[in-house]
């Protein structure tokens, strides 16, 4: 049943491409229908998984390339289900917030749905090869979405994103080819490869170079410092729906690949080297430190931006740092950090989508500026109260205040990292503090800086009122906020799914 999320999205993309050019309403309607169907399937799939205690289930399995032992295998465990659910939510919200796209509407949604299809595919792949295929399928639509419908320096941002992604996937491909050849060229199934690795077909010396290669390859897309630079430019250049998807789910593809492929297949690549340089004694240390740098650097950079969207772009780098840090704490005895990391993937997906929706769509489409100095003069809290209060809520969620999903997720990551190395926790804590600062700063500058408004200014505003908020905007924002709130108040709903899957992965690390 879950497999239909993939098929429906690609079928929708093909249909959109064939639609008549002028009929934007039809294109929108079709896209919304497909996205809603995907969300419905994701929810049903999640419920069915819950009835099954979130054990790994093979959804589809067929021989694909007999001569190479490659199978078309789709499988879902708790981690996949959580991320599929996130994809469903983000895709519906994305369609709602691109309701105003008038330029080549059908093509926009064709690329959009192709991207969604690829994302569903990655999260549901039970075969490394298939996972890679879907991962690469997602690159091309991203390029066109940004290059055609984007804003600031869109061609540059799009090309940078495409090349970074492609370089990352080239690294993954090398790891894939090498692991496939090393294990005898019999299979590329994730379970089968892991079994070969466990049986000793992938010696530690091999894993020691394959792990960092594949981890960095996927990590590029997860916004890993210092390979994160595509993220802010890409997010800023992208049209709202694409930045929502980029930050919301595409960065999660990278983190998911790090967890599922790099850590799942080459767990001994995280073992200690046997020597240490300035306290760094393993790839685990290296990547954890890069993650911590990403957290702090992203937050500091966000604090210094004058473009509203860049603030959110850099905050994504910071939040994704928590994901990578959480992943790096995973060991046979410490699973709480990685559990938090997966929860953070969901949480950041929802919250980043929300922030980009407010900044890119609701505010920018009305004010036509993202410059904080310009926005300061616009008294948005009175002229767009909905946007202001939505941003307050989103900001609180983003800061990681209790009651929202971010709190539970980041807390678990910090607990996990404390167990692994308290220094990491301390440094990441700095990132949280700066996070509060930059959120506060944009909130104040963009929305609540109208204390000095003169009567003259207020009159001028009345003559040129901003366009009213539309129903798709409200629906999208409410949906994402509710998701974050529900998970924040009752995290068990997702943790029950994530924990067994993470424990299973940790079990493979012994």
């Amino acid at each position: 049943m879950l497999a239909w999320t993939i098929y429906l999205s690609f079928a929708g993309a093909a249909l959109e491409a064939l639609l008549p050019r002028r009929n934007a309403a039809l294109a929108r309607g079709l896209a919304l229908a497909v996205a809603l169907a995907g969300l419905a399937l994701a929810v049903l799939g999640f419920a069915a998984g819950g009835a099954n205690h979130f054990a790994r289930v093979v959804i589809a399995d067929a021989m694909w390339v007999p001569s190479m032992g490659i199978r078309f295998t789709l499988a879902a465990d708790g981690i996949s289900l959580v991320l599929v659910l996130l994809t469903g939510l983000a895709s519906v919200a994305g369609v709602l917030l691109s309701w105003n796209i008038e330029l080549r509407t059908n093509e926009f949604f064709a690329f959009y749905l192709a991207l969604i299809g690829g994302v569903y595919g990655v999260f549901l792949s039970g075969d490394l090869f298939l996972l890679f295929v879907f991962y690469e399928i997602a690159i091309v639509p991203k390029y066109f979405l940004i290059a055609i419908w984007g804003s600031t320096r869109r061609e540059y941002g799009a090309m940078k994103l495409a090349l970074y992604s492609f370089v990352g996937s080239a690294m993954v491909l090398i790891g894939l080819l090498a692991a496939y050849a090393r294990t005898g060229g019999h299979s590329t199934g994730l379970v089968e490869l892991a079994a070969y690795a466990h049986a000793g077909a992938l010696p530690v010396s091999f894993q020691m170079w394959a792990f960092p290669l594949v981890f960095v390859g996927f990590g590029i897309l997860a916004g890993m410092w210092p390979f994160h630079t595509w993220a802010p430019t890409g997010h800023v250049a992208a049209p709202t729906a694409a930045s929502m998807l980029l930050a919301g789910v595409v960065m999660k593809l990278g983190a998911y690949g790090c967890l599922r492929v790099a850590m799942g297949l080459f767990p001994h690549g995280m073992d200690p080297w046997g020597f240490s340089i300035i306290g760094i004694g393993s790839w685990r240390d290296v990547f954890a430190i890069l993650a911590v740098i990403g957290i702090v650097y992203g937050a500091l950079a966000a604090l210094a931006q004058s473009d509203f969207k860049f603030v959110i772009g850099y905050s994504s780098v910071s939040h994704m740092g928590f994901v990578l840090l959480g992943l790096m704490t995973l060991s046979a005895v410490n699973t709480i950090g990685a559990t938090g990391a997966v929860l953070q993937m969901f949480s950041h997906g929802v919250i980043a989508g929300l922030l980009f929706a407010i900044v890119g769509r609701i505010v920018y489409e009305r004010t036509h500026t993202r410059d904080l100095a310009e926005l300061e003069k616009m008294h948005l809290s009175r002229r767009l109260p909905f946007a202001a209060w939505a941003f307050v809520v989103a900001g609180i969620a983003s800061m990681g205040l209790p009651g929202f999903s971010g709190f539970v997720a980041e807390l678990q990551v910090l607990v996990g990292s404390w167990k692994a190395d308290p220094w990491w926790t301390g440094a990441a804590g700095v990132g949280i503090v700066v996070g509060v600062a930059y959120t506060w700063r944009v909130l104040q500058k963009a929305f609540f800086s109208d204390t000095h408004a003169s009567l003259h200014e207020l009159e001028a505003e009345h003559k040129h009122p901003l366009a009213p908020i539309t129903w798709p905007e409200v629906t999208g924002v409410v949906m994402l906020t509710a998701a974050s709130l529900v998970v924040g108040l009752y995290p068990r709903i997702l943790l029950d799914a994530i924990e067994p899957a993470v424990k299973a992965l940790a079990g493979g690390m012994q």
Binding site: S67, M68, I139, Y180
Partner: protein, 514 residues
Amino acid sequence: MNFADLFWVTLPETVLEITALLVLIVDLGFLRKAALNLRIGVAVFVGVVGCTVAQWALLHPPAGLTLPGSHDVVLATGGSAGVAQAAILALTGLTLFLLIGTDFTRHVGEFVAVTLMAATGGLLIAAAQDLLVIFVGLELLSLGLYILAAFAKQSGKSAEGAMKYYLFGGMSAAFLLFGFSYLYGITGSTNLHRVMLGLWMPNAAQAAPLEYLALVMIAAGLGFKVAAVPFHLWAPDAYEGSPAPSAAFIASVSKVASFALLISIGTAAWHVFDGARGVVSIHVGFVARPEPVYLGFRVAWSELLMVLAAASMLLGNLAALAQTSVRRLLAYSAIAHAGYMLLGLAFFSYGPRSAQAILYYIVTYGLTTIGAFGVVAVVERATGSDKMDAFLGLSKRNPMLAAVLLVLFLSLAGIPPLVGFWAKFNLFAAVLGVYPVGAGLGLVILAVAMSAVSLYYYLQVLKRAYVMPAVNEAPVKAHPITMLVLLVIAALVVVLGCFPGLLQGWMANFYAGM
């Protein structure tokens, strides 16, 4: 051998030759006064029927042709030869379709006839196991190619490209013949298998100096045919100047034939060198396989090919970055693709694994590149230029053509699930399957990195087609048959990409019949 055997073995070649004559008779004898479009239509129809009939003749191959009183095979049938011949016929048929809607020549009959004769040369090369037959086939193919490249008589560029092609080609043929003559001198035979037996010296860790000389000469001659760096200089000019059907033919059919020849050499060499050491076949899987010791000829040949491969991948991809003409871009990308395939040849394995991977690559590459030239030809006729900027706004001016271009170029860049990706994956997996992995892995890393570079220049063209605003909004019209052929090619690229087992199964049938 008797002449009846010869006839049956060369049945596809015979069919093509008869078709070529038939085209000439029909075009020159009956249609002298007819409209150009009609003449093209008839000539292409007859040519394609000829290719189809020849294809049918391949279906039930007789045993390979041997010389009287010996067991030395002169012309092989089935296996790699069969796959390559079938591909040559199919791709020749497709290139003929590109002639429809063009008006660069009034000598339609001659164009189709020369194409078919050149294809006959290709068929001979693909099957030949004897140095002399190889050389005759190569000359037959090459002479046809020079004429085809020069066919647009009004165009100075066509003449320039053809002249460069001819001069370089003549020289490289001389090198090749020189190398062949040394091989004959060393071993006393012109049969590939016997030559390899003669070269195999038990206990010799290195090849003799004369062998090196012969190998370098041969590598130069064949490197020219496949446009490998540093013998690639003719390619950009020939690709740019030739009429589109000729360029597509040069880029696809002639490449298939040349790589089939390289595979024949590889197979013969590895048969002797690995077979002599008793290395087991690949069915055991590559992990359990004992590491073969590299000997004389084999190591020298591998090293030469590695150098050519690395240089071609690097230079082809990097030079393509700087191109503004799409035809030249395709030329440099062809050099890069030749580099990937040479990598496969450098790490050739005993048994059909490597041969199949390389053939899969060249066949799908040929298919894709014919489509690419078809799109370029249509755009060129509408805008009068093959510059990248001629593609501006193509998605608006002809959405279907733009979609075909998108599919073909992404396939060339190796994006899944298109067929170009499978070809690369299959090839690189085959390379890594050969011990020792070390050198192979290094070059595979280079190849994968370079294909990441290639995405940039393919996207430059697609960016103009899809992203940048059109300067001129006039629709780009394509002849309906051309459009249909291009759509079929694009559909094949997608379908073969989604179901890679189809083509592999079809190829395995040829091997099963061996």
